[in-house]
């Protein structure tokens, strides 16, 4: 399968002159078409920063990002789901989902259809005319996902999207996301600090650590998703990644 996104020796630094600090370097990540990759790591290793560099919100210092998708003017190749859903409070749900559709070349009818379709896809057609404050945290986060899906991206970047949500709602949202993923075949790069979540969702778990950070380990998860919530094999994998993370934390601290 072809990689839809490939970074080559990517590096990012913040600050100027002597205060300059390299956050990560030599970062080589590739995500295949339709692949679900989860990224965990030491805090401060630049997980969120990586997503922002890929979506061109922050400039990189070195290296390159290749995005191999068919460029069409009626779509955006990449879309991001944020940690807090960050809906615009002055826009109705419909208007929030339209945000990324404004400025790409589609007709008003097509825009309306995309909004309706994504609302159906996430299973919230009834909230279309409400204001964000009238929705629960879980619903808002689903609208955040709908806003990203509406631009029909090839790559979905997700920055700890379920981090601020209670455990029960989070489990529901994870199931929902897997369903949407299997229906839409998007490639996903999903950042989380929750290792169980990373192992549960991902085809592959990447571990970011060190100072400056790089990918220190990679765990392919071949277990069938139906067997992932519980069972020895799943728990063993979670333990394995946790051990890897502890090692990475120790390595990061020694590097100072």
């Amino acid at each position: 399968m072809a990689a839809v996104i490939e970074t080559k020796d990517l590096a990012v630094a913040f600050g100027e002159g002597k205060a300059r600090e390299t956050i990560f370097h030599h970062l080589n990540i590739s995500i295949d078409e339709g692949e679900f990759v989860t990224l965990v790591g030491v805090s401060g290793a630049g997980k969120s920063t990586l997503l922002r560099v890929i979506s061109d919100l922050i400039p990189s210092l070195e290296g390159s990002i290749e995005i191999n998708t068919v460029q069409v003017r009626s779509r955006r190749p990449i879309a991001m789901v944020f940690q807090a859903s960050n809906l615009m409070p002055w826009r109705t749900i419909t208007e929030n989902i339209s945000l990324g559709l404004e400025g790409i070349e589609i007709s008003d009818e097509e825009q309306q259809k995309r909004v309706d379709d994504t609302l159906d896809l996430i299973g919230l057609p009834e909230v279309r005319d409400r204001w964000p404050y009238q929705l629960s945290g879980g619903q808002r986060q689903r609208i955040g996902i709908a806003r990203a899906l509406a631009v029909d991206p090839d790559i979905l970047l997700m920055d700890e999207p379920f981090g601020a949500i209670d455990a029960i709602t989070r489990t529901g949202l994870q199931e929902e996301l897997l369903r949407i993923w299997s229906e839409t075949k998007k490639s996903i790069l999903f950042v989380t600090h929750d290792i169980e979540e990373a192992v549960y969702l991902g085809d592959r778990v990447l571990l970011l650590g060190g100072k400056p950070a790089e990918i220190v380990k990679e765990y392919p998860i071949t277990l069938d998703r139906k067997e992932r919530r519980e069972g020895q094999a799943f728990l063993k994998l979670v333990e394995e990644v946790k051990a890897g993370l502890h090692e990475a934390i120790a390595m990061t601290n020694n590097g100072e």
Binding site: L57, F82, N86, M88, W90, L99, E102, Y133, R147
Partner: protein, 250 residues
Amino acid sequence: MKPITRYVLSATGLVGFLLFWEGLARSGILEPHLLPPPSTIPPALVSEINEGIWQSMVWASLRHYTIGFFIGSFLGVTLGVTVALFPRVDASQAWLARVLRPIPPLAWIPFAIIWFGISETAAAFIISIGIFWINYFTAMNAVQAVDKDLIEVARAFGHRTFPALLRKVIMPGASPGILAGLRAGLGQGWMTVVAAELFGIQGIGQRMIEASGLLATNVVILYMFSIALLYGISDYIFVSIQQRILAWQQ
């Protein structure tokens, strides 16, 4: 408290105050010339309206007020937003604003007369000054307080030019603060309107000075209440518009 109880208590407070005042004047404790009883105000209103004075004074003041309000608000919001958006403009105004801001609007009266004469423009100018500063600072703060995360969201979804960010995030995000500033200016404007007319420009202020010279204190009070009424109406209209615009707020 039930809304009805609140309503009754509010009305009782106002009626009680008027009765107490009437009693003080009638009993002779207060000289009627110093503080006329409220019962003398309705006849004053009738005679002022019959002579056409009330209408023309209110109309004149309303004109000064409206012009001053729009000019002061427009300049205040525009400059306040500009300062918040451009750090260089912000730096260049910091000391200037500190020098000019504490000068009360009424201190500009001599210059208003020298520049514009005893004219409606002079009155509107003085009214606009107070309104300008309120809007200048509230608009500046409102823009500075716009959620930076939402700007990032807009950029992530392809809106990267300055006009697009201004239209899609900054102005809507700052709108509650800007509207609050406009409302505060609406009140401030009525406070300066009387003073701006004291030096002879036709309007409520001028009529009040005239009446007090004749010891027609009931006429003075009539116009005091007229201002309160005008303020009440304009604030009510403003708040209903504001609520429509900000329907998205909790």
